[in-house]
């Protein structure tokens, strides 16, 4: 528990980060770090939430800041395979309005 692993794949210039575990206050830092690396060269990013069981506001903040950066760089940022509980959290805070979830 309390662990988050991030697997990175590249598919036609798009980075696909697959998250496995929990995205909480502590683990969100790992994600932030991984994303900071991605921003060294602007490209599209997909976060795969298939194996993400939990996300707290800390994760929301990372998503929000990533979205802001993507908008600024005019790149594409999206979430895929979002589980029910995580989707609910995104919905509750109204993120679904501006974050693309496939």
């Amino acid at each position: 528990m309390g662990k988050l692993t991030i697997q990175r794949k590249e598919d036609a210039g798009r980075a696909i980060l697959k998250l496995d575990g929990r995205l909480d206050t502590n683990t969100s830092l790992d994600l932030q770090e991984a994303l900071d690396k991605e921003w060294e060269t602007p490209h599209d990013i997909t976060l795969d939430f298939e194996s993400l069981s939990y996300m707290s506001s800390a994760g929301l903040r990372v998503i929000l800041s990533t979205q802001k950066k993507a908008t600024a760089q005019n790149t594409d940022f999206r979430l895929v395979n979002v589980s029910e509980p995580v989707l609910e959290v995104l919905d509750v805070v109204g993120f679904l309005e501006f974050i693309q979830v496939d």
Binding site: M1, S57, L60, P85
Partner: protein
């Protein structure tokens, strides 16, 4: 009294005393002398008086007797000579009558009595004519005047030894043959002494001796001699004896027939002693004279001649001797009185003289004392005034003005030196003071650092119900060598330590800082107490050149279980106090003091505390506090106090305060000799199933999750509910971790009360951070575009969304956030 007065008064007193004593002694001696003189004088008078009188009396009597005897003999001899002369003349005449006339003589040359025929007498005259020249030859030239011898013959011739005034050959004017004496001699034919009679011619008192002359049996003539009493007296009594002697002649009947001076003394004597006079001669008829002692003042000398009927009485009285003695006495007394008077006068003068001298001495003494006092005191007063100036801060005063040449000048010189030194000293002092101030400041800082190193915020763990800790450290000096410490090594372990560094002061304080830091550092790694001490000991031993050491007691309490692990490094055994006030000293193995034995492996012991038990840690400053009798407070008194206070229900704070007070009361006025340190912990027990204590740090998030998952496991919440609960818990906890304690470390207590069927849970977060109500913040605006959204504020918003109710309160210094959720409610229901 000022020195001036003292010196003055003492001098005056001395002068007064000496002069008074001298005057007193002199006056006393003078007076004594005077009394002596008077007394001796009076004694002299008395003794002279008595002695003179008695001596004079005795001498006088003897002299008087001798004189009287001599006189009597003289008188007797005188009268006897007269008698014998008459006898011789008579014998010669009788012889002449026996022979015929030798030659023819001129009868005309004979003196005849009236009626006598010269012619008829011529024959007889021729025979006795020699009698004329015989009588002349017998002239008593050497005798006193008036003594005369004569012959009257029956025939009418008259021969006379002295000049009778009648020329030779003339006729005498009186017929003497008709006189009584002649007739008596002629008739008795015996010689005899006549009684005294007064001479018709010259009034002399005369006695006569008459002798009848016979030729054969024929009466022829009478030879007689007249002796005037005056001549006897003149002969016998010189002018020397005249005053003391009287003479009288008494007849056979003791009638006074003649008295020289006719004094009462003599007359009375004769009148009263006529029988005695006769008796004197009757007793001793052989002696013709006697001396009779009459009385103390007088005597009588008696003489009686044969054939005489009278007695001559010489009466001597020497009463006048006494007068003489009295006169002498008077003279002596007068002289004496004059002497006394002289002495008296002289002594009075002397006393007066002494008084005057005294007054002069006193006056002079006062003047001299005043002058001397002035001379001595004036410089001292000057000195005092100068010293006062110095005292007021004027260090430029010069004491050179005082030139008395005595100690005062030396004092002034010393003052001068002193002021000089003082100036120098003050200059130095400024430097030194600055330096000292710096050191003091540093010491003060050290003290504050030391104090600040000890946890002083009580209660130290307000969010922990399971135990409480109170402690106190009073250093004996500015910075002490004692310390206490307590800290959480993790959420379930609290470490407590009490230690006493050998020595005191800065050195000890520094060592204490090192020790405390090392212990805390080691303990916080989670090492067991024995390992902590083993490591700390090693660290301290290396480079411990000062050979300092620390006695210490460290214990770590596992809050959830009450397990207490202790290690003792040469420290006093702590006291375990039961809830029933029973006491027990924790006498676990005692290891050597820290820093004393390099490489030592420390050994610990563990036992379990039960809720309600208390632990009392202390240093020897408590037990070895002593009073004025050097009696120690001692373990027994300490335990008694603990027992008493515990049974009174005193809490930790009160117990420590009261213990401190009792130590003070015991010590009385004695200064605190050693640092006094006490630490007390109460274990209340732990309900580990519903409460979790966490350090407010996001790294404890997993522990929180574990705790909650375990609690919620069997309650019957769906996966979704559980996730939401965890989400809410995380948001709250992270919020506290980020904001409640700022940069500091703090703790959070999380309690979770979960109940099943229907599943219900109440979560409560408690922290003692800055008061903050997270709910007061406006809800995040979910409708904004991402560019407008701020990254914060989502957590609480989410919490509110997922929980049935969220409430905040601030209570007793705690922020308390309460979350509630029941199973099965969905958002739609909730929103309605």
């Amino acid at each position: 009294m000022s020195i001036r007065q003292k010196v003055f008064v003492s001098t005056i007193l001395l002068v007064l005393t000496v002069s008074m004593v001298v005057a007193g002694v002199a006056i006393f001696q003078q007076d004594d002398l005077k009394q002596n003189v008077i007394q001796k004088g009076e004694e002299n008078i008395e003794s002279v008086n008595g002695y003179t009188i008695s001596l004079l009396e005795s001498v006088n009597y003897d002299v008087a007797v001798m004189l009287a005897s001599d006189l009597l003999e003289w008188i007797y001899e005188y009268l006897a000579v007269c008698q014998n002369t008459v006898h011789s003349a008579a014998d010669y005449m009788e012889m002449l009558y026996e022979r015929p006339g030798q030659k023819t003589v001129e009868t005309g040359s004979v003196t005849v009595l009236p009626g006598t025929d010269r012619a008829q007498t011529s024959q007889e005259y021729m025979q006795i004519e020699d009698m004329q020249s015989y009588l002349v030859a017998q002239r008593f030239d050497t005798w006193e005047e008036g003594v005369a011898m004569y012959i009257v013959t029956e025939s009418g011739m008259f021969f006379y030894s002295a000049d009778t005034g009648v020329g030779t050959g003339e006729e005498f004017h009186t017929d003497l043959r008709q006189r009584a004496w002649y007739k008596t001699a002629k008739e008795t034919g015996q010689p005899f002494w006549t009684d005294m009679y007064e001479d018709s011619v010259d009034d002399k008192h005369i006695i006569s001796y008459c002798y009848p002359v016979y030729q054969k049996d024929e009466f022829k003539a009478v030879v007689g001699i007249d002796i005037p009493m005056e001549s006897i007296i003149a002969f016998t009594l010189g002018p020397e004896t005249e005053n003391m002697t009287d003479v009288c002649l008494v007849d056979e009947k003791s009638n006074i027939i003649y008295s020289l001076n006719d004094t009462d003394g003599l007359n009375n004597y004769v009148m009263q002693n006529s029988s005695n006079i006769d008796q004197a001669f009757a007793d001793d008829p052989a002696s013709p004279f006697h001396v009779v002692h009459v009385d103390e003042e007088s005597m009588a000398a008696l003489v009686r001649l044969p054939e005489a009927n009278w007695t001559l009485v010489l009466y001597s009285h020497f009463g006048n001797v006494r007068d003489a003695a009295t006169d002498i006495n008077q003279v002596v007394a007068e002289n004496n009185n004059a002497t006394i008077e002289y002495f008296d006068r002289t002594i009075t003068q002397n006393i007066l003289f002494f008084i005057i001298i005294d007054v002069i001495v006193i006056v002079a003494g006062i003047l001299v004392a005043r002058r001397n006092t002035e001379r001595v005191i004036k410089p001292i007063e000057t000195l005092e005034a100068m010293a006062k100036q110095v005292g007021e801060g004027n260090l430029d005063v010069q004491f050179d003005a005082i030139k008395t040449g005595d100690e005062t000048e030396k004092i002034a010189e010393s003052f001068n030196n002193m002021v000089g030194s003082l100036k120098e000293y003050i200059n130095n002092l400024a430097t030194v003071t600055a330096e000292k101030k710096r050191v003091e400041t540093e010491l003060d800082i050290a003290n504050r650092i030391q104090k600040s190193m000890l946890p002083t915020i009580f209660p130290p763990f307000p969010d922990r119900d399971e135990f409480d800790v109170r402690a106190l450290m009073n250093p004996a000096k500015e910075v002490g060598g004692d310390f206490y410490d307590f800290f959480m090594t993790d959420d379930d372990h609290v470490a407590m330590v009490v230690a006493d560094v050998s020595g005191k002061g800065v050195g000890a304080a520094l060592f204490m800082v090192i020790t405390k830091t090392l212990i805390k550092n080691e303990a916080q790694t989670g090492a067991c107490p024995a390992d902590v001490f083993t490591k700390v000991n090693q660290a301290l031993c290396s480079g411990n050149d000062e050979e300092m050491f620390v006695t210490a007691f460290l214990c770590v309490l596992e809050i959830s279980t009450g397990a207490l692990t202790c290690v003792n490094a040469g420290h006093n055994p702590p006291v375990l106090i039961g809830s029933d006030s029973s006491l027990e000293l924790i006498k676990i193995k005692r290891n050597p003091a820290l820093a004393s034995w390099d490489g030592r492996a420390y050994q610990q012991e563990a036992f379990r505390l039960t809720p309600g038990q208390k632990l009392f840690l202390y240093t020897d400053g408590v037990t070895e506090a002593y009073n004025s009798d050097y009696e120690e407070f001692g373990t027994e008194r300490m335990c008694d106090a603990l027992r008493e206070l515990n049974s009174q229900g005193a809490n930790l704070e009160e117990t420590i305060a009261q213990m401190r007070k009792k130590i003070d009361e015991f010590a009385g006025d004695e200064e605190q000799a050693d640092d006094i340190t006490m630490l007390m912990m109460e274990y209340s027990g732990c309900d580990s199933t519903s409460t979790l204590h966490l350090t407010a740090d996001t790294k404890n998030l997993d522990a929180l999750n574990e705790f909650l998952e375990e609690k919620l496991e069997d309650v019957g919440f769906s996966m979704k509910d559980t996730t939401q609960l965890l989400l809410a818990a995380e948001e709250v906890f992270v919020n506290i971790a980020h904001y409640a304690y700022g940069e500091n470390e703090g703790s959070v207590r999380v309690s979770c009360e979960a109940s099943a069927a229907p599943a219900h849970v109440v979560l409560e977060f408690r922290d003692s951070g800055v008061p903050f109500d997270p709910l007061a913040k406006e809800d995040a605006d979910t409708g904004l575009t991402p560019g407008d959204r701020e990254p914060g504020g989502l957590g609480i918003f989410l919490t509110k969304k997922v929980m049935d109710s969220v409430s905040y309160r601030y209570e007793n210094g705690y922020n308390i956030l309460r979350l509630e959720k029941s199973a099965g409610k969905d958002d739609s229901q909730k929103q309605q």
